[in-house]
């Protein structure tokens, strides 16, 4: 029997009098994957931050592997949760190698240095994400796609049981989108890590996930299998714009596109 990674009941959050999240509930088994979709401002990134305890929660019960989220120390959380934030946030004045190694902080004992084990693990993460060739470069010289892969490498270096990714492929060109998505898929397959990903990419981003959650105005508008998302005009209700569906005759996969009114 697999463990329950997250169990969230009636999570609500109000910021400046505005309800950002309302009664969000879901449960996620370890080893499965969850995609979080929804229009801009629906509360997707906020939900991710609540799950990481980067934001306080006003009400609701959050448990992580059976223990209340608030009862974990920061160090424990960092060993369970790997966070990949949205791209392009903040200046990082380190080399790739330094930046990735720093993610071993959660295993660092007081009064000690990073060990060879730490170095091996961070090197392995850089290999997995294919960033080893530019390990000596400064972070600010990297392209968006390279930078994103380094952030994934750093999160992997924490050896988490759950990876939380916030729009991992936004602002990336097609090649890097494919690379990052392939990488995430590979990690899932090879390591069995649980994945929670906020995404805007309905086709490539969503269909490979076990479960999809759609947020709208801070509430759960849909929670279920990705195929079910395509029924009953669900997408149109969520995004408030009509969609077209296209079936690929070879693979039988369905692709969705927002419909554009004729000018």
């Amino acid at each position: 029997m697999t463990a329950v990674a997250y169990n969230v009941e009636n999570l609500s959050l109000v910021i400046d009098g505005k309800a950002i999240l309302q009664d969000v509930s879901f449960s996620l088994a370890e080893g499965t994957s969850l995609a979080v979709i929804g229009p801009n401002g629906a509360g997707k990134s906020t939900l991710l931050k609540c799950l990481l305890r980067l934001l306080p929660v006003d009400s609701g019960n959050l448990t992580l592997f059976g223990t209340p989220l608030a009862a974990h120390t920061r160090r424990e959380l960092a060993r369970l949760l790997g966070y990949v934030p949205q791209t392009g946030t903040g200046h990082v004045p380190y080399t790739v190698e330094e930046f990735v190694l720093m993610a071993r902080y959660t295993y660092l004992e007081p009064f000690s240095h990073f060990t060879d084990t730490d170095r091996d693990i961070s090197k392995k993460a850089m290999e997995q994400t294919e960033v080893l060739p530019f390990a000596q470069r400064q972070m600010h010289t990297l392209s968006g796609g390279e930078r994103q892969k380094v952030f994934i490498a750093a999160a992997l270096t924490q050896q988490p049981r759950i990876m939380l990714l916030d729009e991992a492929t936004a602002f990336l060109d097609y090649r890097h989108q494919v690379e990052v998505l392939t990488l995430i898929e590979k990690l899932r397959r090879d390591t069995g890590v649980t994945i929670i990903a906020v995404t805007h990419d309905l086709n490539q981003g969503v269909m490979a996930f076990d479960t999809v959650m759609a947020l709208k105005n801070g509430e759960v508008a849909f929670l279920g299998k990705p195929e079910e998302l395509l029924c009953d005009n669900r997408l149109e209700t969520i995004y408030e714009t009509p969609f077209q569906f296209l079936r690929d005759p070879h693979s039988d996969a369905v692709y969705v596109f927002p419909e554009r009114a004729q000018p």
């Binding site: 990481l52 120390t73 920061r74 959380l77 960092a78 966070y83 934030p85 200046h91 380190y94 720093m102």
Partner: protein
């Protein structure tokens, strides 16, 4: 980046300056003067009783101020955010000035009353600045800097008021002290500074990995396992302790905390495992050198060392401000 040779270079520079500084002054003293059997010769007295303690005090104060600046620059993620620019030095100065004006005299655990008052003043300002950063989802750094300037002005006026109400003698003493100087005689100053600077420096040394993560912003730092509020409290304690102690002894010496860590960062990078030793050594060496200039440039007159650091630091501040992408940290 090869940082080890640079840090060894700083260590050599610091050693040369610290060992050489006591021999330089209004009258040069040669090592042979000290080797003469009559140990109470005028040269020996000047050397051991005046210059050596002064060099020790300068090195301790310079290191402490530079390390405090380094910590604040990392915490606020901006090279302009230092204890001096955010008004913490002003708070410490007000605390110490109040102590002098009220003619108080007490000590606790071997720490002088003026140091404790300065520490209280520094803590007060830090709490205020920290409170500002937490109002309504946080202050942007430029706003914080402006708030620091406003606070500094306010505190200067309070000090002026204290000074105006003081006797001529006390008033002069206050003004002279406010300019920042190391013109005290004997071992009281270094002995006062030693426990304070060493305590603060040890705390910051233990937080060097934490400082590395803080530069990345609070969200990433927390997601890496950093207990940010606790680290902040320790940083604030260490910085108020050092700034309070140094200001109460030497007056508010400005700009060391801004220039030194920034120059070191350009040379050895932002990794605090390397930045820390570089800043400690260069900060101490720099203030020792400034003090040598202050007592030799217009000898026999002496310019307060705070004036020298401000003369160098003012233009440097402008350079940082006008440099392309000054909003970008580091």
């Amino acid at each position: 980046m090869k940082t080890r040779p640079i840090i060894i270079g700083f260590a050599a520079l610091a050693a040369v300056i610290v060992l050489g500084a006591p021999f330089v002054g209004m009258t040069a003293i040669s090592p042979s003067d000290l080797l003469q059997p009559a140990s109470d010769s005028a040269e020996a007295v000047v050397f051991w009783r005046i210059r050596v303690p002064r060099v020790l005090a300068a090195f301790l104060a310079g290191s402490g101020l530079a390390l405090s600046g380094m910590a604040f620059q990392a915490l606020f993620r901006n090279p302009l955010a230092t204890p001096f620019t955010l008004g913490v030095s002003g708070g410490a100065a007000f605390g110490a000035a109040l102590y002098m004006r009220l003619g108080l005299s007490f000590a606790l655990l071997g720490i002088s009353g003026s140091s404790l008052s300065a520490f209280a003043g520094a803590c007060g300002v830090i709490l205020l600045v920290y409170g500002l950063t937490r109002i309504r989802g946080g202050f942007t750094t430029p706003t914080l800097l402006l708030a620091g300037v406003a606070l500094s002005f306010f505190l200067s006026s309070m000090i002026l008021a204290l000074q105006y109400s003081a006797s001529l003698h006390d008033s002069f003493r206050l003004v002279r002290w406010l300019m920042g100087g190391l013109g005290m005689v004997g071992y009281d100053a270094p002995l006062n500074l030693f426990p304070i600077v060493v305590t603060g420096a040890v705390i910051l040394f233990m937080l060097r990995n934490e400082l590395n993560l803080l530069i990345l912003g609070e969200d990433i730092a927390m997601s890496r396992g950093l207990d940010v509020p606790r680290v902040k409290r320790r940083l604030f304690f260490a910085v108020s302790l050092m700034v309070g102690g140094i200001v109460s002894v030497c007056g508010p010496i400005g700009f060391v905390g801004m220039m030194i860590p920034h120059i070191c960062r350009l040379l050895v990078g932002s990794d605090h495992r390397h930045l820390y030793p570089a800043t400690l050594l260069f900060g101490g060496a720099f203030l020792t050198l400034c003090d040598v200039i202050s007592r030799t440039a217009f000898a026999p007159a002496e310019i307060p060392v705070g004036v020298i650091t401000a003369l160098i630091g003012g233009p440097f501040f402008l350079y940082l401000l006008l440099r392309r992408g000054s909003s970008q940290l580091f």
